[in-house]
């Protein structure tokens, strides 16, 4: 029987295997940031260990950094100490670091692909659950905890049990105004936040093949929101075209060898997935979450659900709790919900295509006077590219704030936070209670819906304008 792509990549990275033990898996690329690494470097120091492969390691500052006044010292002393600690650790252990102010600085999952160090067939890890993003290139990429960060720094390997495989088949054609964000929100609503536990997801089908690399990254990014540590898409011409010419892409003879290898990275025709899920792209509509986990989503045309409609007592309780937190009444049309803040950015939707699509809706118009629109490019390069295209001017003219790169309001670790009770439409990945600021309420949406919502003041798609 043939193998699924995830199984192939796994098999090619097994350093040691023994019955009853986890496989020892080689890691091709380790991405680092300031929040989940300080304790790992401390561990190395305590044990008098080195970073085994600094040349397969790269760090950036993203989670904690401000998006205003980035040329000045970080105002919050605790944040500053954490960032300074990363700088000190990288200098001491010889790890490449892109600091605030550096042209390559940005969200770690935007930076990797942009530098061309994210390539098909690799194993990629980072102390961040959205590492699944890199799966869009046909890489096996997943988030790890700080103990594992230390393990990879010390040994460039991880002991792991192989996950099962799940195919997410998305066939058909997306209608205008429907994006890859809507695909993944629909997938999560279908299989639930725990549906992918123990699996690597492989997104397949004609609707996936038709997506750009950046749209594919949005889908793989949120695999973790379906419970899967990793999600991937087999590489194809779209992938190869995207990687070619990037700073760390193979060149000359290496390119030919790489391409030959990358073309083998597909799921065999006779492979059998442990589970399959099917979605029809023709039927998908712009999606929005109404609750406090990413599985609590519905098409924008729907209404807030009623807890009494759920037969299972636990679901009923969870929905009731979510509606209380979100301050929503059953039966309210989602399109009537008024928001205070629109956040455009994050490792999910902070790339140039995301900014372009939002700008195309906003161009020449003004945002609703009742709200603020925060535009945070995913990396310094994305910001520069957007400025070269005049997108900054489109956003600023509309009344938006144009910021420097970072994770920003996606997780509310830096000063960009919602106030208690404030409601946001956000292109990020998590609508957990307080995720974007204590007491804040989040509706997850695509960049198109974010842009339309910013203009109208209530949850909207461009078709509603």
């Amino acid at each position: 029987m043939g193998k699924a792509l995830a199984e192939k990549i796994w098999a090619e990275h097994v350093v040691a295997a023994a019955a009853g033990e986890p496989d020892l898996l080689y890691i091709d690329l380790h991405l680092i940031h300031e929040v989940t690494s300080p304790q790992a470097f401390d561990g190395l120091r305590l044990a008098n260990r080195k970073v085994r492969r600094p040349d397969l390691t790269i760090a950036t500052e993203d989670h904690n950094v401000p998006t205003l006044n980035v040329d000045k010292p970080i105002a919050d002393p605790v944040s500053k100490l954490q960032v300074d600690t990363l700088r000190k650790n990288c200098a001491e252990f010889g790890v490449r670091l892109h600091s605030l102010g550096d042209v390559e600085q940005g969200i770690v999952h935007v930076v990797g692909p942009q530098l061309g160090i994210t390539q098909p067939g690799m194993t990629i890890v980072c102390g961040d659950s959205h590492t699944s993003t890199h799966g869009a290139f046909g890489a096996l990429a997943f988030g790890i905890g700080t103990s594992e960060v230390e393990h990879v720094l010390a040994t460039q390997t991880l002991p792991l049990h192989p996950p099962k495989t799940m195919a997410i088949n998305v066939d058909g054609t997306l209608q205008a105004g429907v994006t890859s964000k809507d695909i993944i929100l629909a997938v999560i609503a279908k299989i639930g936040t725990g549906g992918g536990q123990g699996y690597t997801l492989e997104y397949r089908g004609s609707a996936i093949r038709a997506l750009s690399m950046e749209a594919r990254m949005t889908i793989c990014n949120m695999s973790i929101e379906a419970g899967a540590r990793a999600g991937l898409i087999a590489p194809d011409q779209t992938t190869f075209d995207y990687v070619k010419g990037k700073a760390h892409a193979p060149t000359d003879g290496d390119w030919d060898a790489a391409l030959t290898y990358w073309k083998t990275l597909t799921t065999d025709a006779d492979a059998k997935f442990d589970k399959e899920v099917n979605l029809n792209a023709d039927e998908l509509a712009p999606f929005v979450t109404w609750g406090t986990n990413p599985g609590q989503g519905l098409p924008l045309t729907a209404s807030v659900p009623n807890p009494d409609d759920y037969s299972n007592a636990e679901d009923r309780g969870a929905v009731k709790r979510a509606l209380e937190y979100m301050d929503l009444k059953p039966g309210t049309p989602l399109k009537s919900i008024k928001v205070d803040t629109v956040f455009l950015g994050s490792c999910t939707n902070g790339r140039i295509e995301d900014l372009r699509s939002a700008a195309s809706v906003i161009k020449g118009k003004k945002i609703a006077s009742s709200l603020r629109l925060l535009v945070v490019p995913g990396s310094a390069r994305v910001r520069l590219q957007a400025e070269a295209e005049g997108l900054d001017k489109v956003f600023l003219d509309a009344g938006a704030e144009w910021r420097s790169a970072g994770c920003s309001m996606c997780l509310g670790m830096n000063p960009d936070q919602l106030k208690p009770g404030e409601r946001a439409a956000s292109t990020s990945n998590r609508n957990f209670e307080g995720r974007q600021g204590k007491g804040g309420r989040t509706h997850l949406v695509s960049p198109l819906v974010a842009a339309a919502t910013a203009l109208k003041g209530t949850l909207s798609s461009p078709a509603d304008l």
Binding site: D55, G143, S147, Q156, T157, G227, D254, R430, R435
Partner: protein
């Protein structure tokens, strides 16, 4: 890592599903650069509510957390495990754990035990009616015992052995570094390197 053999303690019922790691410890608490002192951030937002279980005096000394399904979803922050341990928890019982959270727990010696939801429900009822109920979790025997009930649970033998011996993975992998070096010799030459900077 401390060895985990057997633990007996009071239990806290947490009747919520999908408790994500942002609830276990909100992002604003992640700025510290140590592994200690995170107990004040544990369930920080929920602790503002006097009715929250953690604030109730009868559960003050709980060391076993009995949680709803899909505990530990979301962010990979190991700070969630540290916060639970810093607070004093030794064992988490749930019908389903998020993969990364469970892996992090196993690295740190916080035992995560999977039990069917029906059993979790019975334990909730028991500890809600008798908060001083002691729960004993025996990793060697793979059992959870309380009142007159003894339940068995599954855990892979390798993880169980490592937890019972208190072994850290890095030390174990260091015995295989020769194999790592051999693997590195055969790696495809076109795979990217981060250094030198291009």
């Amino acid at each position: 890592m401390e060895k985990f053999l057997k633990h007996t303690g009071n239990a806290l019922p947490l009747r919520r599903s999908n408790v994500d790691t942002d609830q276990i410890i909100p992002a604003v608490y992640l700025k510290r650069i140590t592994k200690s002192g995170f107990e004040d951030g544990l369930f920080a937002a929920w602790r503002n509510d006097p009715a929250f279980e953690l604030n109730q005096p009868q559960y003050k000394f709980a060391t076993v957390l009995v949680a709803g399904p899909d505990f530990g979803t979301g962010s990979s922050r190991e700070h969630a495990v540290w916060a639970l341990q810093n607070y004093g928890f030794k064992v988490i019982l749930s019908s389903r754990f998020a993969d990364i959270f469970r892996g992090n727990s196993q690295k740190m010696g916080l035992l995560t035990v999977i039990l069917p939801q029906a059993d979790i429900e019975k334990i909730w009822q028991e500890i809600e009616s008798k908060p001083d109920t002691q729960i004993t979790v025996d990793l060697g025997a793979k059992t959870v015992a309380y009142a007159k009930t003894t339940l068995t649970f599954d855990i892979d033998d390798y993880t169980r052995w490592r937890l019972m011996e208190g072994l850290d993975d890095i030390g174990l992998t260091f015995t295989k570094l020769d194999q790592v070096s051999k693997f590195e010799e055969k790696r495809l030459s076109f795979k990217p390197k981060t250094l030198p900077i291009r």
